[in-house]
Symmetry: C2
Subunit: 339 residues, 2 copies
Amino acid sequence: MDVAKLAGVSVATASRVLSGSRYKVSERVRERVLKAAAELHYVPNAHARALVGSGSKTVGVLVHDVTNPYFTQVLGAIQRVAAEMNRLVLIGSSDRDPERDLSFIHMLYAHRVEALIIAASGIDDLSFAQRMTRSLELFTRSGRRVVFINRHHVPGDCVLPDNFGGARALGQLLVKLGHRRIGIITGPERLTATRDRFDGLRHALEEAGIPLPPERVEPGEFSRDGGYRAAQRLLDRVPDLTAIAALNDLMAVGAIAALRERGIAVPRDVSVTGFGDLFFAREIMPPLTTVHIPLEEMGVRAMKLALSPAGPQIRVEHIPLEVVERESTAPPPAAARGA
Amino acid sequence: MDVAKLAGVSVATASRVLSGSRYKVSERVRERVLKAAAELHYVPNAHARALVGSGSKTVGVLVHDVTNPYFTQVLGAIQRVAAEMNRLVLIGSSDRDPERDLSFIHMLYAHRVEALIIAASGIDDLSFAQRMTRSLELFTRSGRRVVFINRHHVPGDCVLPDNFGGARALGQLLVKLGHRRIGIITGPERLTATRDRFDGLRHALEEAGIPLPPERVEPGEFSRDGGYRAAQRLLDRVPDLTAIAALNDLMAVGAIAALRERGIAVPRDVSVTGFGDLFFAREIMPPLTTVHIPLEEMGVRAMKLALSPAGPQIRVEHIPLEVVERESTAPPPAAARGA
DNA sequence: AAAAGGCGAGAAAACGTTTCCAAGGAAAGG
DNA sequence: CCTTTCCTTGGAAACGTTTTCTCGCCTTTT
């Protein structure tokens, strides 16, 4: 090491002072080494450190889309905790492509991240789940932690927002308001988040004895434009809806835009709900009734799980979800109520 | 290496087939190695690879806030390009704390990232700029690339959105609409982006002979709530404004909320403009007149710069900015026009 | 004063790869 | 059939750290 040479000591002692080792070094030598390091602007090579076994000081995070506020909120919290512990965050953004997910898992393992947080949503696909389980064995077998956010068909510790319960409560709100003809804009088929939210809504309707024929259910892409187009299709097919529940906020925004374009007032003619309570939900017009997901808290919890040693049993952190009622919902118009 | 042992070859040959080296290996041996690797779920250790000199296959990105749509848009583009080249992205999110910026630069250097993209905004602080320059010498001296996004007081290649020109055009639009009493919500003092945008607006007003007394200028934090509070202060002090220009979209959203609360109609009574054209700008009510910044393109360009070898001279990619006129602006009310 | 003990510093191994160098074998040419 | 050349493979060094082991010196104790 150059620093050692300049300070006139062995690399061993230089390392001892620079790495904050528990071994002792005399004050005189320590100072000389520090001075030499400062002079050379020495920055230890993290790869060499990682190689010799002291860990890589990095955490891997896998998301679907770094651009999506849902994930960035979680990511922000993870990043904050990581910075506090002097860790760096490696991200993989798979664009919802399962192959990319797997490929990122391998890349992150190649970098021997201390822990891996999978914030991407789970999907209902057996063969994929199996492949993922196998890839993640790389981590677990080497004593590394893997933490999921959301429900996955893969065994492991996880932070689990109660999508079902939140959606059920939201459905109950619509029912209580008096809606009986409710349309639902779902998300990509096989996402567990979509499934759970849909099931929650359906459950609430069933409990109230409200029918949900298939034509009132329309899949959309999890984006503003996806919601816009899905709402168009839904309205073309079932013009007499009094409420539209979109399975995320972005799609709800699109749905509101579609309604506005047709001159349908929200919430006077049609109520709209979202899911997630992303930051823009209360800024749009009308402010969106939705289900709040405490994303920062989930990120922090996931980090806590990731940085604590694995226990003998799987740990699950349940996150209850609350409905937040704003101005995009109201009782259905009198005409509809009478019907 | 375990794989070599299982395949019954030397580590050298195993490495040759697994690393896609240019050295030749007979087909028979290659197959045996591949089979052994698959059987053991072998994933090469990136740290060892990086150490021996073939680069770390990572790119570092420094942002102010992973949660801010401005940065995530850029980050998304960077991430996409990186994935295409089989690179992983290491992020540092400094929360606008210069010390953290520097600390991240060192951490990223410790990981010997191939290139560093500084997406955080520059600040007008001499001693900080000098310290940053010195820290970045670590990179440049070792032949690593550093690319800036936005104007920084540090020499280096950069992608430079024309904040000044965009703001000037925006100011000209307000002037053309007939506004003469314009308030400005600025951002954090020393951010170069803030300065440039402010200067652009001021320039446009000066050109039109429109006064801009200091009481019409109010600093705000670069957030929705910052804009909200700044608008409150501005309205308390100067109630007769006909337009408010916020230096970013988030603050404009806050300003609109403040106006709405006071029963002031936008744009009928007061026009509002933002800056950035983030995805929510056209979703809010009324859709926001703002300046479009092609963030994805900037991210891609930054990556291109970062991945191309350094040239003899500094390279600057100028990005022109366009005003997009939506419904948050209109001519001032007749009463004001008459005055 | 001598022995024992403790403390600080250096030598060297180890981490997992890549790559240079050398060697062995087969093919080709004389 | 022998020699030369090319092609494939193995050995070993190197990358930059940390850490274990060992050694020597100084201090303390008897």
